[in-house]
Each structure stands twice: as C-alpha cells, then as structure tokens.
Symmetry: none
Subunit: 199 residues, 4 copies
C-alpha cells in the first residue's frame, strides 16, 4: 500500500501554523495549507476532521506542552515560589521564542473564544491557568505576594498583557527583543511601576 512517507500530519500542522499566522483563522484557506504542506487538499482531511480541528490541535499541543513544563517546575522542591513564578513567565516566553508564526497563529482572531467554550481541546489551557493560579496562591500564603490581589483578575491581566505583547512582537519581531519584553514583564508583574526608591 501507499505508505505514509515523511510525516504528513506534522507537515500539515506546521503549514497551518504559518497560514493561520499570516491570515488569521477566517482568512486561512485550506488549499493554501495543503500547498504549503506539499499535500493534496484531501490529505488534509485524512488527518484532520476540518479547519477548526487543525486549529484546535495547534492550541492543544501548545498548552499541553506548556502545562507539562509548568508541572515539572511546580514539582521541584529546590526552588522558591518566587522563582517558580519567574519560571512561569519564562515558560511562556520560551514557548514562542523562535516561533513568531506560532504566536501569531494562536493569538490572532479566533482565540478570543478561549476560555469561553468548553471544548475538550481547551483543557490543557485551563490546566495551565489553574496551576499558574496555584503558584500565585502559594506565594500569597507564603506572604511573598500581596493577599489583596484577586488571583483570577490578575491572572487574566498578566495573560492578556503577555498575549498582546507577543502578538505585537510576532507581527514585527525586529521592533523589540523578546528578552527585553520578558524582562519588563517580570519586573512589572512583581514590582509594578512605582519607583520603590522613592520615599
């Protein structure tokens, strides 16, 4: 039989990331994905039920990966909660460090439905968020973080800010370095804007 040569499933996913990145979900054409992946249109449907399924898979894969990373970090007994929070930010940034296409694909239109829908593919995302909240909660218990902050709100604020910065960077990677952004985000989250040198 005609055997799977190479990894068409992966080729299609990679192609889809590029096309979603460049055009957004609604303007991404299946044909374009197929051509970029070097397969026939029909082959796309051999591996994925439909357009949405491709997008879902991209999202799911990403958050599953991030969740696993965060879990390993959280499991460590040798680092402090503050360091874990730091690592959380790092995990997010590293995931997209050399993948602006992935960033744009995930973030551009279509993903605002995020959290809203109960689709199974969003579970890894929710797991990640829950674990992130737990780390912040730990920090509050340990008196590292301010107990007056609303965790859910702050979590969304940070995530939204990260998302938007990432998207801007993905659209024009040369405009600012991701490490400068990372540094600012960390500083901002932890210390805010006020000048602590002030009286």
């Amino acid at each position: 039989m005609r055997t799977k040569t190479g990894d068409k499933e992966k080729d299609i996913l990679e192609a889809a990331i590029s096309v979603f990145a460049e055009n957004g979900y609604h303007n991404a054409k299946i044909q374009k994905i197929a051509i970029l992946a070097g397969v026939a249109i029909g082959s796309v449907y051999v591996y994925y039920k439909n357009k949405e399924a491709i997008f879902s898979k991209i999202v799911e894969r990403l958050w599953t990966d991030l969740y696993n990373q965060l879990q390993q970090i959280d499991d460590r007994a040798d680092i402090s909660t503050a360091e874990k929070f730091d690592a959380l930010i790092d995990v997010l940034f590293d995931a997209f460090f050399d993948k602006p296409f992935l960033a744009r694909a995930i973030i551009s239109e279509g993903s605002n439905q995020i959290e809203k829908d109960n689709n199974a593919y969003m579970e890894p995302y929710r797991n990640f968020m829950t674990l992130g909240e737990k780390i912040v909660e730990d920090g509050i218990k340990e008196n590292i973080f301010n107990p007056n902050i609303d965790i859910k709100i702050v979590r969304s604020f940070i995530f939204g800010g990260f998302r938007f910065l990432l998207y801007q960077w993905a659209c024009a990677p040369q405009d600012s370095s991701l490490s400068l952004i990372r540094q600012n985000v960390k500083f901002f989250c932890k210390k805010g804007m006020l000048n602590s040198n002030m009286a």
Copy 2:
C-alpha cells in the same frame, strides 16, 4: 416620530455594535445589522462604504472620544502625574462601564489588525497611546515611576491586560464586577504583586 436625517447613520452604527459584539466581525451579517437598525440593506451602503468601514467608524469614534477625555485630563495643572495615570485607567474603564456590547465588538476577532495597519481611522487610537506614554514619561521624569521600565512595552502590556479582562467581563458581565477589576488593575500597575509589607 423619527426624523429622517442623521438618525439612520447612527442607528446603523449602534446596530453594528450589537451585531459585531454578538457574532464577531467575520460572522456579523450586513443584513442583520440592517434589520436591527430598521433600514434597508442598501441604506447601509449609503452611509458606509463597506463592512470594514462600519467597524472602523466604531473604533474611530471610541478612541476619538477617549483621546479627547485624556487630553482634558492631561491639560489640567491641578492634578499630579500619578493622579493623571489613575485617571487614564478610569477613562478606559468608564468607556465600557455600561457598554459590554461595545467592548465585545471592539475587542473580538478582527481587531487584532489594530496598530498593524496605517489606516487613518487608527489615528485617534495612536494619539491616545502616545498621550498615555507621555504621562508615564512625565512620571518617570518626576521620579514617580521607575526609569528602568520600557514605556512602549509596559504600555502594550497594560493595554493588552485591560483588553483581555474587558473582553472576559463583556462575555459574562455577572462573573465579576468591573469596579473590582478596575481596582485590581490600578493596584497591580502601580505596585505589582510583591508584598511591600514584607521586610
């Protein structure tokens, strides 16, 4: 009795806000907008060149309004820069306080093109952002804000965070109060997460 002039244009815009909010840009049907506005499809095109122009107008009107408000605040000599920053956050929140539809319409898919394109209608948005940056810059000069933060990055971070919180709130207004969100954002921006009571 509805007088004829001026109203239709506004009716269409209001209807469009609802429809964009409920369906997102790509799933918003011109016909639905027309019906909701109580006009014929053709009339939509008398007042607006095309679908995008309607969306642009909504965005433009919003940011023009916000920019004007921020300008008045910035012009005041009787309040401090810290208070101006505080007011900046308030302007953003007040704009959507009783308008979840507007929030969803503006933020949902389609508006990620924001900033990317150089369309004239984005000018009020850019003006607002520039003025916001100036206020922060003033704060840095006055030693209120930390001079090490990158203004552009922080500005985008705050805006992204605000945007995401707003969208979540707009999708489920009952889940959390906008004033609680506002309070947390202000606190977070200014003081960050660290517990300043700590030694």
Copy 3:
C-alpha cells in the same frame, strides 16, 4: 430598487423541473438550473432555501393541484362512484399529459422517500391518497368494488404501477401513447386480466 422583472421564482422552478428530469435529483446541478432559468446562482437561493426546497416545491405544487381537482370531483353529486374512480385515474394522467419532464422529475430518484418522511410538503400528497382511498371505500360500500380487497395495498399497487408506467413513458414518450396506457390502466384496475367472456 431593482425590481423583480418577469417571474424569476417560476423560471427557476421550471428550469429545475427540466434539470431534475434529465439528471435525477442527485445529479442535478444548481448551476445548471440557474443557467437554464437565466438567473445567477445566488438568485436561486433568494427564492429557495436549498436544493431540496426546490424539489419539495415541485412536488407540493403538483399534489396540491391534483388534490384540488380530486376534491371537486368527489364533491359532485351527479356522478357515480365508479365514474369518480375513473376520473381519479384521469386526473393523474392529465397532470402529466403534456409534461414528460415533470413526470420524470417527480418520479426519478429521490421521490422514493415519498410517504416515508413526514415533511409538511408531503401533506397534499397524503391528502390526495386519503381522498382516493375514500372513493374506493365508497365503492365498496355501494357494492361496486370487491369488499375483500385491502384498500391501502391496492392503492399503493395502483399508484406504483401508474408511477412506473409514467416514468417509462416520460423517458421515451414516443414509444407508447399515454392514452393507450390510460385505457389499459383503467381496464386493468377495474376488471383485472381475466377474460370475463370465459365461462
């Protein structure tokens, strides 16, 4: 405004009859119908929700018409039940007398679902059948028809036979005259095949 010129709705229906007749339901292309009707593809969808709706309309119109005719016949007090049954056969034949396309469109594949589904558009058909059964029942009560026949079965047998003859004729109208067919059907239904001259 661009006003309805001519009767596009009717043009489309007539075109659809031809195309369904020639190709059967599944092989009838909407584009072909549109071209034949002299309208744009989109116009088809202005008047009909989808392909199935066009077919339904054809069927519905036909049976509504036939039912009305049969009702008028049944209402008459001046003719006998035997004559009414005769007229019932005539109604069926006359409906297709100069419309082989209509016959083929209705009968070819797709209409075997007939009776099976409860779609509203089948109601006129069911009305016709019910009234037909009533006429036969009357005949039985009046001792004209044999009381041992199962009305439902006989009704379906006659209808199926008519249907098949009609389809064959519609495919090759020249092969046999419809009036010869009509005459045989009437004779067969009433007297069967046995030679009554026989002892």
Copy 4:
C-alpha cells in the same frame, strides 16, 4: 476460519446490499461497504470495477436467479398457464420474502435507470420480463386472459405496483404482512376491483 477465495467477493456484495438498502445508491459509501465486509477499501476494487459495478452485480444476480426460476416454471407441462402466472407472482414475492434489505437496495433511488440503459447486466432482467410477457401471451391465446390488454403496458403496471409495494414493505416490514400483499396483488391482477358478485 474463513477460507480465502471466493468469500471476499461475496462478503462485499452482501455488505453492499445492506449499505445500499440503508442509504440509497448515492449515499452509500464505499468505505462503509468495505468495513461491513471486513475488507480494505482497495479490495473492493479488486473484485469490482467501481461502485456502479457492485450495484449492477446485485441486480444481475437477482434477476438471473428469478429468470432461472421462472424458466423452470414455464418449462413445466403439468401446470396451466393460469397457474404459471400465479407462480410468476410468487417468484417475485419469494425472492424478497425474508430479505427486506435486498428489496430496498434494488428499488431505492438509482435503479430507475433500469431498462433505460442497455448495459449487459440488465439482460437477465429483460429475459425475465420477456418470459413473463410470454406467459401472459399464452394466457391470451388460451382465452384465459383478455385479448384487449396491451401486454407491455400491463406488464409494466404490475411490475411497478409490485415494486412500490415491496419498497413500502421493506421500509416498514411490520406495517403489513407480505403474504397479505401477495394475496391482494394476485387477486387484483386477475380479477380487478369490480365486484363480480354484482349483477
């Protein structure tokens, strides 16, 4: 253990009957047939040229069988022509007696092309019909049947009626017993509807 040769071809055919029956020709998927037959898709094409060929084979097999049965009946010298006609009806009914799937498969959409095309696979069907006509002709010569009936027309009428009844029964076997139908068909064909008890 299933022996290898001969079985697959038959398995596919049996599976096809079920799938055609349940879905009709156009909605029958080759994949479904393959799965039901327990073979690979490709294997279907080892035994049959294409979808149509499978359908043709079903039809051909059926009519070949029926024709052979009818031939044996016709060859008998010990029964009258009237009894042969009776047996003809029985052959038809018996063929489907415990096989509603076969009935639906054969009759549902797609088989109206029957008689229209000159494909070789229709020959057994035509043979059966010709032999059926001969029996009726014999009956006419023997003065059993009425000489005024048009054999071709009556033959199609009976066949169409049988076909439709069969289809209805196959769709809902519990609604009426096949033997009641058979009995009515025989009576109707031979004696028609008129009450011969009447003066």
